[in-house]
Symmetry: C2
Subunit: 241 residues, 2 copies
């Protein structure tokens, strides 16, 4: 088997209210129904107006306290707390939060890079919904991605935070290896692996927010599917908080 | 930018003492110096004789106790403990361990699937060393991979456990986005993303343990590099034990 990854040519700076699907289509790369388009969440968030000016943020007591421990901007910390359901770990260097979507990541996904000065970009309100809207407009599977750190490994890897039209978990339970023995790895996180693959095809500092993966049709669905919500480990199954 | 992933045609069942590099070369796919070959650890472990018969394993008291809580084979649990530096979490369903290499994964990487009955496959003794030997023989970058679960996300993703000739962490500290602002994601886990990308190009039940990635030459080194050891979060930086 094989597949290919190609970054779409740069698209213009995205602003609130922009028709992102139209901007992506205008990049002039063919998108077939069996393709998977991975899109960095930042352009999705910007198009949806999920950008917040820190000038308007008044930090509360908890934000001031957390900011003091880590030499952080208290307004940024308040913006993080506003997006977080729970602060999982807070140290001088890092604020790991569970977002309202259930994702566990640094700063609840609130990011100061690649945006205007004194502004932060938030995660989309409903990334699976955003992916479904893009899929309807583009006619291919869509994965909205972000870079997350990992509990025990150095570095960030790109993961799926919104998915439409792609199997997110390939379920191998009950299936068997060549020797007839049940396989140990029972659920392959296909959508996360697609996000990571796409990230290898673009540079972080380029205006290349989207990458087309071609050759993964065995994972492409004829409907939206469960979305990235299926990748969230339920609190009862979460051994690391 | 773009890259392509292609699975090598199946190779014969690997046995202890086999020359794995020769078997991979015999698959007849061209490997250039700028290619990255991702190899599932299982064939590496088998070639290195890292297979253990459970018939010879005598479970100790701790293995018997842990096995009783999870309806597990106490001999398998003993084999896991023999590979583990630390049991990070033990529940009825899962035994998450830190291996002697520092990797945190289920069952310390000791796996019963894809092997003889009553045998387990262990991780390579020194996966970075195994990768370096393969690189020397194949003349391309090499990533040895395994499927690991994640703390807060459902499903397994393929990660790098041994690396030679590939940048494992792309360091963006101090580099800036298009607007001149420092980037938030400072270290991209390139080798893990390569492992995940490769996994999308093969089926778990096929005899396709190796996938060639072509187009990642900007991450390929002219020397072995730091290896997957650089991906291990040091205990002092590990917030989740």
């Amino acid at each position: 088997m094989s597949f290919g990854a190609v970054a779409l040519p740069g698209i213009p700076e995205v602003r609130a209210g922009d028709d992102l699907a139209a901007l992506l289509l205008a990049a002039g790369i063919e998108l077939a129904a069996t393709d998977v388009l991975c899109v960095a969440h930042k352009v999705v968030s910007k198009a949806e107006g999920r950008v917040r000016s820190l000038v308007d943020v008044v930090p509360g007591p908890r934000a001031l306290e957390l900011a003091a421990t880590g030499d952080r901007d208290p307004r940024h910390v308040q913006a993080v707390l506003d997006e977080a359901d729970e602060v999982v770990r807070a140290t001088a260097g890092v604020l790991i939060c569970r977002t309202r979507h259930g994702f566990v990541c640094a700063n609840a996904g609130v990011d100061r890079s690649n945006t205007e000065p004194d502004c932060v970009v938030l995660l989309p309100e409903n990334p699976d919904g955003s992916a479904r809207a893009l899929r309807a407009a583009l006619g291919c599977a869509v994965v909205i991605t972000d870079s997350f750190g990992r509990a025990w490994r150095m570095g960030q890897a790109e993961v799926a935070i919104g998915v439409a039209g792609l199997e997110v978990l390939d379920d191998w339970r009950g299936r068997h290896d060549g020797g007839g023995r049940e396989l140990a790895a029972t659920h392959i996180a296909v959508a996360d692996q697609a996000a990571s693959a796409a990230d290898l095809a673009r540079r972080k500092d380029s205006a290349e927010p989207a990458v087309r993966l071609r050759g993964l049709e065995r994972f492409v669905l004829d409907h939206d599917g469960p979305g990235a919500a299926a990748l969230v480990r339920a609190r009862g199954l979460d051994l690391f908080r």
